[in-house]
Symmetry: C2
Subunit: 765 residues, 2 copies
């Protein structure tokens, strides 16, 4: 491969200007000609029968254009995995925040005022909030339309787990528990919809076009061609905008009002009715040989689905399996239950279940290392996956620099000096590793891949149209870099469009770390196709064979006559050659060698596997329990990094979000109601909490990624929480098996430990 000119460079965001100047149009900014505003009325009950809804007073409010309830909605059920969603509550509300009615008016205030005049008669029903309780035989049903509260059960076995435990020198078992983490995007969920001749157009800050396509077509019983999604700028998603239940509701409001309608959730609504991470209780049992080789792993997961399933079904599957590609686990057994409760639905969150399970396994690795008297570094290096491995689930590891990442963070963090007995009181250092996929074949069972178009305008500027969108992670920039690299044009001359599914198609979207890797291949293929047409145009102009024309550094060169032509000139000639068609390169990428898992959940699911090792240093005030993440050293194998500046940004963001998960973020429930649905009481890390962060990239080009790239966005959060928990253990000798590790919990743990020590001393005394 020739030396890269644009890929791998620290280039600025193609859309930084719009973002800085405030002209970028986010979901909350959308206005449309004749647009009306909607407001949703939500259930104040966690579980209640709806006896009667009276909308008459609401309808009489001047300016109200429509009041919509389940009675006005199609009778369809829809959903991403399980069809357990419906438009508005039918007969029964399933959680506090469940949508009972919608109002459309000329402005938001009128819609809200009218929504308060809707009279709903409820009969409260027994509610169930704890998934463990919900699994008991005599538990009340969270939804009376299901046979039981377990909505998904899974079991996977590889190798011989019993034998593995028998062969182990140590076996340890522990229960780890993770709660609801809210995605905490800056922009709340917002959607605008319009119907034209039976076709629906949706404007939304949506992460995953194909996901919403499925849901909308099911919901309205319309064919796929009747739905168009125009992606707005997205003020953060982190999995929370993969499947917006608001979309079908707004589309229904628009249909009933006969006009475009927009709804923007308030922050409180967004907390109460979006889909935070899937809480899990993970009972993990692992055994290791004398040398630290992990010989068996047995897991039982109970996951809290909330009221509707959405992606939680996929999340529990990922939690069950993905970590087995981090280490050379051979004997594994996992059972999982996803359980309905009368709480907010849970779904995708950056890491998609991988974060939860990595917290358990990477905590366990330290525990096993301690019991074996092995260094935590040592046990990880011994088990680390290597390039060329085929994992227990059949994943083919095309490249893997996990060991190198571990060695890098150990060296940079001065692990050996800091871990030693001479460390400062209250200071601790901990390591954790993580891995993630680069696009999932499970998301595209019929054909994993991507598509794009690259147009070359008559002035030589390049216009990239992808079926994949940018959710703020810098995808447009990455696409511009790839197109610029292939065509040899200045990066500044490449423009990237917003996603419009009528122009391209429904891409998979920003799920499964798909966009740069799978999506990048489509861009590359489209740029190559555009190059072919430029050469065709130049050869037509020169009257020579196409083989004589080369594209060298953005110029077309006739290798015989040595004439040269700007690409804009060739693009102009192409327009004339074709009677007015702008030069269009179509790119198709069909990933070979990967496929959706088979019925036994076996098969190579992703284009590439990214790895990371993080070392966290924490400082704990032993008097107050206050904890600070002081420093995080991260080493990542993301293959060839397309733009190191953004990749660093992703890692930094992942560390901050993982730090929130570890130390402060959790939705607090009381009787099914979130008690902290705002940024005052739900504490995300701020600039004040920012640790020293060092990011190193240790990857080599992956054989399967575009220009050798692998993913970065999700893997960056995966090791963070366990690295911090391991550092906390190093600092104070307390093993936290649930999160967040708040100062109050630290203080309580220190006091308990103190009592324990004193008790032991007394006993000894």
């Amino acid at each position: 491969m020739a030396e890269l000119q644009v890929v791998g460079k620290r280039l600025q965001l193609v859309d930084s200007n719009e973002k800085i100047m405030g002209t970028a149009v986010f979901g909350t900014d959308i206005v449309l000609p004749g647009m009306l505003h909607g407001k949703i009325l939500r259930s104040p009950h966690a579980h209640a029968r709806i006896l009667h809804i009276n909308t008459e007073r609401a309808k009489r409010v001047p300016g109200v254009r429509a009041v919509v309830t389940a009675a006005d909605a199609p009778p369809t059920r829809f959903g991403l995995s399980i069809r357990d969603e419906r438009f508005f509550a039918i007969d029964e509300a399933h959680y506090i925040g469940d949508e009972v009615a919608g109002v459309v008016a000329g402005d938001e205030d009128t819609a809200e005022e009218a929504s308060r005049l809707i009279e709903v008669e409820y009969e409260p029903l027994p509610a169930i909030f704890d998934p463990i309780e919900a699994m008991k035989p005599d538990a009340p049903l969270a939804r009376r339309d299901t046979a039981g509260n377990v909505c998904k059960h899974l079991e996977i076995t590889r190798g011989d787990v019993e034998r593995g435990f028998q062969d182990s020198a140590v076996v340890h078992e522990e229960l780890y528990s993770l709660g609801h983490q809210y995605q905490a995007y800056i922009e709340p969920i917002a959607t605008a919809a319009e119907w034209t001749n039976g076709r629906l157009t949706l404007w939304a800050p949506h992460q995953a076009p194909r996901t919403q396509l499925k849901v909308m077509c099911e919901a309205f019983d319309i064919p796929s061609g009747a739905f168009r999604l125009i992606q707005t700028y997205i003020g953060g998603g982190f999995g929370g905008k993969n499947n917006m239940h608001l979309c079908p509701l707004v589309a229904l409001l628009a249909k009933k009002a006969g006009a475009p309608v927009r709804v923007v959730l308030t922050r409180e609504e967004d907390f109460q009715a979006s889909m935070p991470s899937v809480p899990m209780h993970i009972r993990l049992k692992m055994g290791a040989g004398d040398d630290g080789t992990i010989l068996a792993k047995d897991v039982y997961i109970i996951a809290d689905n909330g009221a509707f399933t959405a992606s939680a079904s996929g999340v529990i599957t990922v939690a069950a399996m993905r970590v087995d590609a981090l280490y050379r686990f051979k004997n594994v057994h996992v059972v999982g239950d996803l359980v309905y409760t009368n709480k907010v639905s849970t779904s995708a969150f950056r890491g998609f279940g991988n974060t939860q399970m990595h917290f358990a396994v990477e905590s366990m690795m330290d525990t096993l290392a301690e019991r074996l008297g092995v260094d935590p570094i040592e046990i990880r290096l011994r088990n680390a996956t290597q390039k060329g491995d085929v994992t227990a689930h059949g994943w083919v590891i095309g490249s893997c620099e996990l060991s190198e990442a571990i060695r890098k963070v150990v060296q940079v963090s001065e692990w050996k000096r800091k871990r030693g007995p001479g460390r400062l009181k209250g200071r601790g250092i901990g390591i954790a590793c993580g891995m993630h996929i680069s696009g999932s074949a499970a998301a595209t069972p019929d054909g994993p891949g991507s598509s794009a178009q690259v147009r070359v305008h008559e002035d030589g500027s390049v216009y990239v149209v992808s079926s994949e969108g940018d959710i703020g992670q810098g995808a447009k920039t990455v696409f511009a870099q790839i197109a610029a690299e292939v065509l040899g044009v200045p990066y500044e001359n490449v423009h990237v469009s917003q996603l419009d599914t009528d122009v391209s198609n429904f891409g998979v979207g920003a799920i499964g770390s798909h966009v740069t890797t799978m999506g990048g291949h489509g861009i590359r293929a489209a740029a190559v196709a555009a190059r072919g047409r430029l050469i065709q145009a130049a050869s037509d102009r020169w009257g020579c064979g196409e083989r004589e024309v080369r594209l060298i550094q953005g110029k077309l060169v006739n290798s015989v006559s040595e004439e040269a032509m700007e690409i804009g000139e060739a693009a102009s000639h192409y327009v004339n050659m074709t009677g007015g068609s702008r030069l269009l390169g179509e790119g198709h990428f069909r990933a070979e060698g990967i496929s959706a898992p088979d019925k036994d959940a076996y098969g190579n699911v992703s284009l590439g596997y990214s790895y990371a090792a993080h070392i966290a240093e924490v400082e704990i005030d032993l008097e107050t329990g206050l904890i600070s993440l002081v420093r995080m050293v991260a080493a990542h194998d993301s293959g060839q990094v397309i733009n190191p500046m953004f990749a660093e940004g992703q890692v930094e963001g992942g560390i901050l979000q993982g730090m929130g998960m570890a130390l402060s973020e959790q939705c607090v429930f009381k009787d099914g109601r979130i008690q902290n649905p705002n940024f005052t009481n739900y504490r995300v890390p701020t600039a004040m909490d920012y640790p020293e962060i060092e990011v190193h990239f240790v990857g080599k080009p992956d054989p399967n990624g575009p220009f050798g790239a692998k993913s970065i966005a999700e893997v960056s959060i995966v090791p963070v929480a366990p690295a911090i928990a391991n550092a906390v253990y190093d600092a104070i000798g307390v093993r936290f098996t649930s999160l967040p590790i708040t100062p109050q919990r630290i203080l309580e743990a220190l006091k308990a430990k103190d009592r324990e020590v004193k008790g032991a001393e007394a006993e000894l005394g």
Copy 2:
């Protein structure tokens, strides 16, 4: 050719629902996130030096975001033919309505209020309004930045005109005069603009994308790739929205305000500052042999350009030449002068100069017939162009049913009975013929043609993206019919997008009757390409050769195994085959055998030539002069008509607009100011004036048009005014050589004739 299934059928408009329900978004409806509103301050002087502009008071109005004058504008000159336009008046205002400044504010009222606070100090300069006066050597300059008032002079000679006149049995000479006809579209001119990263997007009800591209790139000195046009629905154009001077102004306002800006003209502004038809004085001399064969034609045109040129330069050329393809004129000589005056700029109007010259020539044909004692039908049949002719200017007539059209209207109108001496008093019947092109190679000198895309969605619906837009004439419907015909799918399953030049390209637009004919070819080619990909997908699915797959009545059929597949299924398979690319057929059509005229204005310029014959019956109240068009019988050769319902609608519209030209419509000027800039005083025909109209199509499929189609939109107005004038002559024996023929003029003419008759009687007496 197999029998047509969709083409040729009377199908309803694809966008009738949006239009009826009021959801179609026109230029005046556009709203954009963060959009501001602009207002233009205009000169009250026909010609004045601008000594000073003080914008301070305007800038201090709360809510004002920008006040813009020439001082803030790029120094560039721009223009469609002659670069004589600029943003705002620099030092000098050229007509009443000339743009002096622009204001941007949060709402229109504030912008208007602030615009009134701009203080402009003018020094009036001598103004010139009459183009004949303006040509005199001592005439004042209409613009002090030109060397003289003539901005274009043309002269074309074919054959031997002197010899032709010598050989003639009769020679007649006459001066015909035509004034300003306003396009009278329902929607006034409106534009919204936004700049993003140096790229400009314009939303406008614009007829001619490529035309505006040229102007915008010149005006802002930006490359073509930096300009994007999104065409809104268009509330009528008729040539008046071919080149909107408002576009660069609004783009400048948006640039200065740093936000999207929209400007909507008031009706008065639209009258005073848009571009009505080009007024012409036509001195026409024609000679004919005994049998009525026209042997020579000599023309001198003086055309009133107004302040800026725009398309008037093309209009005078068309007026000079096009009629020579109606009849077999061999010896022709024409001289033309296009002259600046201090009046509103003039430009394209349905017929594009052809209307003006047809009025002259078709009036003259009747005069010559009378002088020769030949029936007006006879002289036309004798000279009518025939299929296979190559005209004096080198136009190759692929199909021509003019003679058949004449015979048809003669028969249907009962010409022979009504023209005879037994007719009712005050009733008259007159014939005129007309022809027009089907797209002009002059508009695309580098390569006449068109391009389009046809997508097949996974549900089998078809989505058509053309580089050509719909201006309300039904282009979307025609495109849908063509795509449905090729793919064999139900017409209702075809959707057609609004034009977005970032998705397709800058089409030529609705000028030169281009869209159905040239544009239709692109659609057809794209549908054929989509069909090819459907076959490719089906053969991949079946594992058979592509030759074995046929597309029969919207289904893919394996001719060997006799399996069948819906096209949606093939389209889905294509998506999977390609990793997510929706099936896209790209269509290119490059017209062969036509080209822009050479330096002698010679060459075959169009894909096809449409012909029409109209017979008008008028009734005149001899007491009051009131005139009614009672009946119009029209026969058209537009080749294969794609949708007879809309073609009839076009002809009916053309007849109404031609009737306005003939009987009531004219801008009345006083000292350079239009006295009737509103629909109260500028009288367009209304439903009350609607005559009995009969439309017949007599064409045969043209060898060059898509499915044999030729144009219809413009030719439909061409014969109207002369047919009416000829009927008036038949009714009262008065030859009107200027328009409109108002009751007042009829009454005056009748009185004068009466005096003349009485005088002659007295003389004889």
